[in-house]
Amino acid sequence: MPETVFAPWNDPAEKPLIQFRNVTKRFGSFTAIDDLSIDIFEKEFFALLGPSGCGKTTMMRMLAGFETPTSGTIMLDGQDISPIPPNKRSVNMMFQSYALFPHLTVYDNIAFGLKRDKLPKDQIDARVKEMLRLVQIEKFGQRKPEQISGGQRQRVALARSLAKAPKLLLLDEPLSALDKKLRQDTQFELMDIQEKTGTTFVVVTHDQEEAMTVASRVAVMDHGRLKQVDTPDRIYEAPNSTYVADFIGDVNIIAGHATTQGETVSIAWADGQPPIIGTPSKPMDDGKVSFAIRPEKVAISAEKPTDRNNMVQGKVLDIAYLGNLSTYHVQLPSGIVIKAQTANSRRRASRPFTWEDEVWLSWTDTAGIVLES
Amino acid sequence: MRRLTWFNATSLTLGFAFLYIPMIVVIIYSFNESRLVTVWGGFSIKWYGELLQNEAFLDAAWVTFKVGFFSSIIATILGTMGAYVLVRGGRFYGRTLFSGMIYAPLVMPEVITGLSLLLLFISIGLDRGLFTIVLAHATFSMCYVSVVVSSRLVSFDRSVEEAALDLGCTPFEAFRLVTLPIIAPAVISGWLLALTLSLDDLVIASFVAGPSATTLPIKVFSSIRLGVSPEINALSTILIGLVTIGTIAASLTTKRAVMRRRREEQMAEQAG
């Protein structure tokens, strides 16, 4: 019995919380955001993902009110927010540096925004205590920011930005200052807190793993434009461009020439090799294409497989043992290197293949994606 | 991101006008033909000529130069030693007293420093003159040098010295070959500071100078008391000019060094 899936972006009746309408932002001659439109819905955990300089931080700063768009409008709850200064917006931000006020205690940092709203003292106190409890730092209320650890500071920053119960919380690289282990634990806590408070989160990150873990939808950005906006699994399994395929996870990209053959296409890609058979996600014209396939979808075997259309023979060039996985770099006679990944599901002393072994790589017709290039 | 707001532009303009207008007026009036210091009588450089013929000023300038030269060198050596002791000296008996004596002269009113040194020279029967001024200036300048050099010593990575020792240097060689080149900019700015303080000092010098040695500030002070004079304007202009040239040259040198380093780093990056 399936639960109702949280997917307001598929429901035409749902009204978006945030709407970017043809927003452009220029700094001098540099275009940070280029005619960008997007809808973000209430209770979403939305990730803006991209390399540094792609415009993701500018988008966030426009939402917070520290930058105004050069053209276009940004609506929050159906209202144009460009004339509203940052201190009057019901949007709060968690800064990458955390920006905790060093001269105030943890308690006063969290109470800072509430005091600006001139709330009665007991109400502020109750809210601060609630926040301290939410992020599990009740014990550190009276300490100064320099007297707590990096992970605790991150929690204070989160609590401070959540204290005013904003309609929208912006998180700028929220976990980048934490070490890997702590980062993974905190990702889940962040999701938990987002669900508990029901706040819409927009997170900016350059860490694709983080975006994939926490977000309900991910927007991949490059040079001020949106490359793809979709759920994490769609982004991974059905990237719409080589840029997205390459940016998210590991991928083999093979350039070739496609010829449609009914449901499938046949891609000629190297002299002396049989064509690759792929299934395009949408009908496409014949011509130049890229074939993208994830390493884990490429099977590696010593014997020639019999049940597959796509297979090539090559030599093992390199082996990366990652513990749970092993990645084989296999060089084909034409010189192209294809990566194949296998799970090390059994505990074994020796690897099944070693350097210079002749191996077969194979994949099914639907394992890869055919992208226009 | 930073832009000059109306408020900031105003405060900067007014602030720098306040700092510079008096000096600019002095410079302008040094070229005044008239002896009257408030009436413009046409352009002239005659006061510079008169200044250069004034034996008393020239003698005083020579004394000041000698005092500055010797006292700043002594102060630089002692001050660098003092900084080294403060930062790297470890524990020794009377360390607190030592650091107290380094920092106290910085905040000691000049009249007290001058008075106490004068009383010392009298009680040990030392004749006042050039030598006593050098001693006095070296003493308070060394503390400034110590502070400047020790701030550099604190910030530099000690493992560099340890590497030198590890590679076979004696402690003295390590200091000469590694530490000194690294702290050299601080030592030089300490020396410049000591020199300026010595050339500039009036109060302490007027306590410890005898009749045989009059420094330029003492001479200037006694003639200022009689009122504004075009010769002093000319002298001020020369001094302001020297300081301006020196400061700008120093800042350009540092700027160029920084630029060169940045360019080299870029090239290295590209090459790599």
């Binding site: 917070a64 520290f66 940052p86 201190n87 009057k88 709060n92 931000m93 800064f95 540096s97 006020f101 060093p102 001269h103 005013k164 | 930073r2 832009r3 000059l4 900031n8 405060s11 602030g15 720098f16 700092l19 510079y20 207008i21 008096p22 000096m23 009036y29 408030t38 002692l78 030693m81 000296g89 009377g94 030592f98 004596m101 106290a104 905040v107 009113p109 000049e110 009249v111 007290i112 008075l115 106490s116 040194l117 009383l119 010392l120 009298i122 009680s123 001693l135 060394m142 500039d200 109060v203 200037v220 200022i224 008391r225 504004v228 002093i232 001020s236 300081v243 400061t247 700008i248 700027k255």
Partner: protein, 310 residues
């Protein structure tokens, strides 16, 4: 391993280290601490018409008895004299007052300049720094001198004020306390600007954005974040102005008038004009006692700033 040799090397190093410490140490003992003790001793002596002009003098040739005799003649008479003669305590009070008010004016003028510098475009900042440092390297005496021409009866300031119609007849500014205030502020304001500028440039801009994000207006963010976080620089600047201003001698004697009472000038005159060395010594001792409080506070502030940096 040659233990003997190692021992000798160790000894040599100790000797080197010893001389490294001893040279500056002895120098400062001899030329800073001892002179000050002499001042203290003389402040307990009496004025006399002799050379040197005070008694008692320590006669080491008379041995222990001479020393005891010497000690018994020292007293606090000069300090009692300072307390009873209102010239002195008025001078102290007026020095403190002048230094305090000048410090506050310096803060009022220096903070906006430092703030303007810190918020100026980054490529301007080295030049602005240079413009603040330049007067600092220029002769102090000449800067005070440059004010004399401006502040005199026929000076630029009076001419300017008459030209804009604010006054009809020239004001007497030179040789009054007003001139002393202007002089102190003019010469010491760079000391206020530099430490404040240093703390303001260290201020993380995202803190101000965070304050705005949490509901502060720009002005509110300035008072709640910028000012508290530049406190250390403000305090350092205030002490750097207050401490030297308190003992100032050149400015009151060149710009001040007969009404100007400042303790540095009194001390100088007591010593050179009245040749009363013991009283001059006592004046110096009291001045130092007054200064100890701000000096200790200043040191503590510096320590805090250093801790905050690391």
């Amino acid at each position: 391993m040659d233990r003997h040799r190692r021992h000798r090397v160790g000894k040599l190093m100790n000797l080197r280290r010893f001389s490294l410490i001893a040279v500056p140490y002895v120098w400062l003992l001899g030329l800073f601490l001892v002179p000050f003790l002499i001042v203290f001793k003389i402040s307990l002596s009496d004025i006399a018409l002799s050379i040197p002009p005070y008694t008692p003098t320590l006669e080491l040739s008379e041995g222990w008895a001479g020393f005891r005799d010497f000690l018994s003649q020292l007293d606090f008479e000069n300090f009692e004299f300072l307390a009873t003669d209102d010239l002195y305590w008025k001078s102290y009070l007026s020095s403190v007052q002048i230094a305090l008010i000048s410090t506050l004016i310096c803060l009022a003028i220096g903070f906006p300049i430092a703030y303007g510098m810190a918020n100026a475009p980054r490529e301007w900042q080295p030049t602005l720094m240079l413009l603040v440092i330049l007067p600092f390297w220029t002769s102090f005496l000449i800067r005070v001198y440059s004010l004399i021409g401006i502040l005199s009866q026929e000076g630029m300031l009076n001419q300017f004020l008459m030209w804009i119609g604010l006054i009809n007849a020239p004001l007497t500014i030179l040789n009054t306390n007003i001139a002393v205030y202007i002089g102190i502020v003019y010469t010491y304001v760079p000391f206020m600007i530099l430490p404040i500028y240093a703390t303001l440039t260290k201020l993380d801009g995202s803190l101000l954005e965070a304050a705005e994000d949490l509901g502060c207006s720009r002005t509110e963010a300035f008072w709640r974040i910028t000012v508290p976080l530049s406190k250390a620089g403000i305090i350092a600047g205030c002490f750097l102005v207050f401490i030297p201003a308190l003992g100032e001698f050149v400015i009151p004697s060149l710009l001040g008038g007969s009404e100007t009472l400042m303790i540095g000038k009194v001390l100088y005159e007591e010593f050179f004009a009245n040749r009363d060395w013991p009283v001059a010594g006592a004046v110096a001792v009291i001045l130092l006692l007054i200064l100890i409080i701000p000096i200790v506070l200043y040191q503590r502030n510096e320590q805090k700033m250093m801790d905050a940096d690391t």
